[in-house]
Amino acid sequence: MRKFLVYFLSIWALAVVTVVSVAGLRGGLSRKPPLEVFPDMDRQPKLRPQTTAGFAGFADGKSSRVHPAGTVSRESARALDETATGKKADGAWVDANPLSVTAELVRRGRERYDIYCAPCHGLAGDGNGFTTKFGMAAVAKLHDERLIKMADGEIFNTITYGKNLMYPYADKLVPNDRWAVVAYVRALQVSRLGKKEEVPDAVRATLK
């Protein structure tokens, strides 16, 4: 019996060591795709975004479709008013933000600005975001007189389509978010243009 135990336990130990050394421990890095132990219905032949798998209907294999050339979506065809284009019916820029500028809108604008604009234009709009340290050239300073005087609609249009070296941001900011950013940019500009008399009395005393 003792002999049996010795054999059995050594073979058992060897087997355990072999399995552990081949399979490794939990959390080890691996280039191999995960093993799906019970794969029933885990991967279904249905359309998922940004994949090629599971669908053979399109020649290019892309599950997320781009607009066919020469077409517009129903939404964009329907909404061609000032809020969507930044332009009046006669083609001139909309002068002032068509949304009602509330604290809520400016807060939203600040959040969006910090995410999408600050990398280049800087958190305060000085045109000194981190990308400028890595070769991003000619970033507009939002406090320039030219931009202070620019119509809201033109700023909106620049966000939508980009300008010069700046790429379009229409895919990242829906029209209402663009107007929110415009409102926040105005707030940034006003922060440098304010006069002492405009500060509420209670706070004015604390100014240096």
């Binding site: 019996m1 059995f8 280039r31 975004p49 892309k62 070769g135």
Partner: protein
């Protein structure tokens, strides 16, 4: 006749009685340890077509997650950025780098870069990104400390038990909504219980919450 079964066979039942529990327990231990996403998924780190570093972009440069994954707040699916998103900066920053050749080709041709998807729940799980990131559940809970990863690896198991941990006690994981993408945020005095109550967070625990 006495030679048909040698004498040691008398001890067979005893041997079986000793061996069977050991083998049985070993098998159970082995399956418990290995047949779980904690082993099968965690650590998956495929080679990506472009050596994009989250550690540089999201860590060092502190770029917000949503700059690239801009659909995450409004869609169930958190998008992989289009190549044009890369080009917003890389049309000027490191514009001649060999590492970015594939990005430039893709931008010119319109043919997408074939990134390898790492985090995948089974197709019968209907996980919704937007409902989580709009109610104070950070990217970091499911994706790990992405801002420290040069190459992204699967950090959390994303098993059913993993989901339920949080669905049972969301107050332990919830955070202020505007800090969802601050991956290194530490809770110092945020009242999760109050947030769960005030924001009417009701993470379901029934099957149909996720399996629809």
């Amino acid at each position: 006749m006495s030679d048909i079964f040698p004498k040691w066979t008398n001890r067979l039942p005893l041997m079986a009685a000793v061996a069977a529990p050991i083998l049985g327990l070993t098998a159970i231990a082995g399956i418990t340890y290995y047949v779980t996403p904690k082993y099968t998924r965690v650590g998956y780190q495929p080679k990506q077509p472009v050596a994009f570093s989250h550690a540089i972009h999201a860590g060092q440069l502190n770029l917000d997650c949503r700059y690239c994954h801009n659909g995450v707040e409004s869609s169930w699916f958190s998008n992989i950025p289009s190549t044009s998103t890369c080009m917003n900066c890389h049309s000027q920053v490191k514009k001649d780098s060999d590492k970015l050749a594939l990005v430039r080709d893709s931008f010119a041709s319109g043919k997408p870069i074939e990134w390898v998807q790492i985090h995948k729940v089974p197709d019968y799980v209907y996980f919704n990104h937007s409902v989580h990131v709009n109610r104070g559940i950070s990217c970091v809970h499911c994706h790990g400390e992405i801002q420290k990863m040069d190459e992204v690896a699967h950090a959390k198991p994303l098993s059913m038990g993993f989901c339920l941990e949080c669905h049972r006690e969301p107050e332990k994981y919830i955070r202020p909504n505007d800090l969802v993408t601050k991956l290194d945020w530490k809770n110092t005095g945020f009242d999760g219980k109050k947030a769960v109550h005030d924001w009417k967070v009701q993470p379901g625990q029934s099957c149909s919450t996720c399996h629809r």
